[in-house]
């Protein structure tokens, strides 16, 4: 059940809209304004480093998901497939390439600038590497490659950190200096990282507010908004700092008032199911997908997707005293860069720490980094927690792979099963 949303409580949402719109405005006139542009990826992003050269980051994944939410991605994907890209591969890539072939008009209707540098931070996903190899063929610009080693045991080893720091020093910084015409200023970077750490504290506070009953947030559908500024262009900025301060205040107020999460249809007034969700959401039918949960009074209290841009809730913070080293640790620790045993342990902890009574996987066709192994994750979680898991399949931005009736049916059946088991005294 929900009741109409109180607009006064969503100042952070308005602020984020303004920030995103402003970002796309800045990008649309970047070259006219004499600014240079760096294309890069969300997981393992080096936003502060880019910003400390006064360069503007563009995140193709964000463009793709925004295109998905605005119902533009289907056409872009079709365009890319017409150009010879396989129907089997990542739809983020095809959405981005299709958008490029159709004039590179961004999701807000404004043209995106061509990159002055492709910063390939290759973290947690092989497809990133192929994606920028493909973009390299389209643009006449340099590429800076940052290979982040995989973390099979979920631990950071010195030689991995050293490898990343060396790459930042020998490959990235020289290219950023060349493109920007500015020298690397570590003091400036440190100031940004200090702001990042403060905002990261606030983000963790917000995410962990879901331990309350009722949870004041939905940590998956709502969570993707909360991570937006942190995972994209605003980490280390004054705007990002202000956004997370405001968000934290709002969430604290909701906890004090005993309110549930805000949804597109208003505030949830009942919390029947507390779920942990693994995997990215579907973007093409995002609101419809979310509605399937909140209509059943199901709130997501923790999710893995909100950790693709960093596991801040496990203690990591950007550290101004170790600027490049902490950036390396950040890259190594992003969720999809972790071995499956570490992912299972994290999900198991979420179920216990957030007192969840259900676990669901949204398996997306496009993302093998997430999806390969999810069926084993499901079994492992069931064995370790005694909680039955639910499994649904969709895609990131390909509307052809969102079967609303099937997904709704599965969610409802799963929640009914939880209800029955609860009645029988089984599970959490």
């Amino acid at each position: 059940m929900t009741r109409p949303v109180d607009a006064d409580k969503d100042r952070s949402m308005e602020l984020q809209k303004e920030m995103i719109a402003g970002m796309f405005d800045d990008l649309s006139t970047a070259h006219e304004d004499g600014k240079k542009v760096v294309y890069t990826f969300v997981p393992g992003n080096l936003t502060e480093l880019i910003r400390c050269f006064d360069l503007l980051p563009v995140l193709p994944e964000i463009n793709a998901l925004q295109s998905g939410m605005r119902k533009l991605s289907g056409g872009y994907i079709t365009e890319a497939e017409k150009q010879g890209h396989s129907e089997d591969v990542c739809t983020y890539v095809k959405c981005d390439l299709g958008m490029l072939k159709k004039g590179n008009v961004g999701p807000t209707g404004k043209r995106l600038p061509e990159p002055d540098l492709l910063l390939l931070s290759y973290t947690g996903c092989f497809t990133f590497m192929k994606w920028f190899e493909l973009l390299k063929q389209e643009y006449d610009c340099p590429v800076a490659m940052l290979h982040v080693p995989y973390s099979p045991d979920g631990k950071i080893h010195d030689h991995q950190r050293d490898y990343i720091v060396k790459q930042i020093r020998t490959e990235l910084i020289p290219k950023l200096e060349e493109v920007s015409g500015k020298k690397y200023d570590e003091d400036r970077l440190k100031k940004m990282l200090a702001k990042s750490a403060t905002a990261e504290d606030d983000l963790v506070h917000v995410l962990e507010s879901a331990k309350n009953r009722p949870s004041p947030i939905d940590a998956y559908f709502g969570g993707v908004y909360y991570i937006g500024p942190m995972f994209t262009a605003f980490r280390g900025s004054d705007e990002g700092l202000e956004y997370y301060r405001l968000l934290r205040e709002e969430v604290d107020a909701r906890v004090a008032a005993g309110l549930g999460p805000v949804t597109p249809d208003g505030t949830m007034t009942k919390e029947r199911y507390r779920l942990v969700v693994e995997g990215p959401p579907n973007w093409t039918s995002f609101r419809e997908f979310w509605k399937m949960f909140y209509e059943e009074d199901a709130v997501v209290v923790a999710s893995s997707y909100t950790k693709v841009g960093g596991l801040y809730d496990r203690g990591f913070r950007h550290d101004p005293d170790r600027p490049l080293e902490s950036m390396a640790d950040y890259c190594l620790g992003c969720y999809t860069n972790l071995g499956l045993p570490s992912r299972v342990e994290l999900l198991e902890e979420y179920i216990r720490d957030y007192r969840a009574d259900g676990f669901m996987i949204n398996s997306v066709k496009s993302c093998n980094s997430f999806s390969a192994g999810q069926l084993l994750i499901l079994r492992q979680i069931e064995e370790r927690t005694g909680i039955p898991g639910g499994f649904i399949e969709s895609d990131l931005v390909d509307p052809r792979y969102f079967s609303a009736a099937n997904i709704k049916n599965r969610i409802e059946s799963y929640l009914q099963m939880l209800e029955q088991k609860r009645g029988a005294g089984v599970g959490a």
Binding site: T127, E133, L340, S369
Partner: protein, 389 residues
């Protein structure tokens, strides 16, 4: 076919079809030693060999394995090799392997390493993270450290330390093996009718389960025996290079189909890991430095390897030129991210070079080849009749 060649072909056919890894078990028994498996594409087998163990290439279950349990671990949109590999393991066929290495190819094989950890917690598992930075002081330093850890792990599994000289000896053994493989590919390119693709593939593929010394001898023997088959004559076939089959392997029936459809396959990336390093590894210096340097400077072009310059497709084009080929067939497994994401870039390179190409996808257990035969036959006809290359 003369008896000696028939015996050799029967032997490599058995090795290919023997999913129970009988030859590995026999080797372990005879040598009272251990065996370590590896997935495609590249692992430094020299280090396993130097520890006195047998490196065993696990290339999936192929066309001969019924998947009973493996499908329950993977969604329909994930390629076939992980599900058949899981099937092999769950059915006990990989019990003879004392460890398993998962090289960095793609997200599926990467995640499979973690699955292995959870499914078989008592077995040794290592993810082989090759560098995508080729600066000796940066990527090289990282890779040397990874190699040193692998060396320590292999010594521990083998139950004995091994010296730099042992490793240098293994480097020499594998140099000889790659030389023999290159000789086979050169011979095949010169006279493809003498070395039918199915025979040649099985001879190459035997390198996944045989000790390298034995495999080298086998290749040399095959080269001699095939030459003595007087009834093998040239045909009016096109000469093609196939690309995309570096990990999951096409069924042998598919390779035969291409040949029957009029295509001499004079270049390929099948079982690419055996030929990943181009040229010899320095057998005299610091062996880990030598292996590292060879990887950084002399790796073959592959979809799983970052191409830092503008040379994407140049090696494929060189292969077409060097082998006097007339076209390229993209032959990638369904849902193979690296191959299928690479393909449009290679297509662009081929188009610029004016090299004809066609494409289809397969699964390792594909059983119907009629459509592929028709497509390959049409492609062969078109390049023979109308190509300007």
């Amino acid at each position: 076919m003369k008896p000696a060649l028939k015996a050799l072909v029967d032997r490599v056919t058995f090795l290919y079809e023997d999913l129970d890894l009988t030859v590995v078990k026999e080797w372990k028994e005879t040598h009272r030693a251990k065996a370590v498996g590896y997935m495609p594409i590249y692992v430094p087998r020299e280090i396993i060999h130097a520890a006195g163990m047998l490196p065993v290439g696990v290339m999936g279950g192929g066309e001969g394995l019924e998947i009973i349990k493996g499908d329950a671990y993977f969604q329909s949109y994930i390629c076939h090799i992980p599900r058949s590999t899981v099937e092999l393991a769950l059915s006990g066929r990989l019990d003879c392997l004392d460890g398993m290495l998962f090289p960095s190819i793609c997200d599926v094989i990467r995640n499979l390493s973690g699955m292995w950890n959870m499914m078989f917690p008592d077995r040794y598992v290592r993810y082989i993270d090759v560098p995508q930075n080729y600066d000796p002081e940066v990527g090289g330093s990282f890779w040397r450290r990874e190699l040193a850890e692998l060396r320590a792990d292999m010594a521990r599994i083998a139950g004995r330390e091994f010296s730099d000289d042992d490793l240098r000896n293994s480097i020499r053994v594998y140099n000889e093996n790659r030389t023999a493989l290159n000789d086979l590919y050169l011979a095949r390119s010169r006279e493809p009718w003498v070395y039918p693709i199915a025979e040649m593939y099985l001879v190459v593929r035997a390198g996944c389960v045989l000790p390298p010394e034995e495999h080298t001898a086998l290749i040399r023997e095959y080269l001699q025996l095939a030459q003595r088959e007087d009834d093998r004559k040239d045909k009016d076939h096109s000469r093609v290079v196939i690309v995309g089959s570096f990990c999951e392997q096409p069924p042998v029936g598919l390779l035969k189909t291409l040949e029957r459809a009029g295509c001499w396959i004079v270049g390929d990336d099948l079982v690419l890991g055996l030929r990943w390093l181009i040229g010899d590894v320095d057998p005299d210096g610091d062996p880990l430095v030598a292996l590292s340097s060879a990887f950084l400077a002399n790796s073959t072009e592959a979809a799983s390897r970052y191409e830092p310059g503008d040379a994407k497709g140049s090696q494929l084009i060189a292969s077409v030129r060097d082998n006097d080929a007339e076209g390229v067939i993209f032959c990638a497994p369904s849902f193979c991210d690296p191959a299928l994401l690479d393909q449009p870039m290679l297509v662009t390179a081929l188009d610029r070079a004016g090299i004809p190409h066609t494409q289809f996808k397969f699964s390792e257990d594909t059983g119907q080849f009629a459509v592929i035969r028709e497509q390959a036959g049409t492609f062969s006809d078109s390049i023979r009749l109308w190509s300007e290359v």
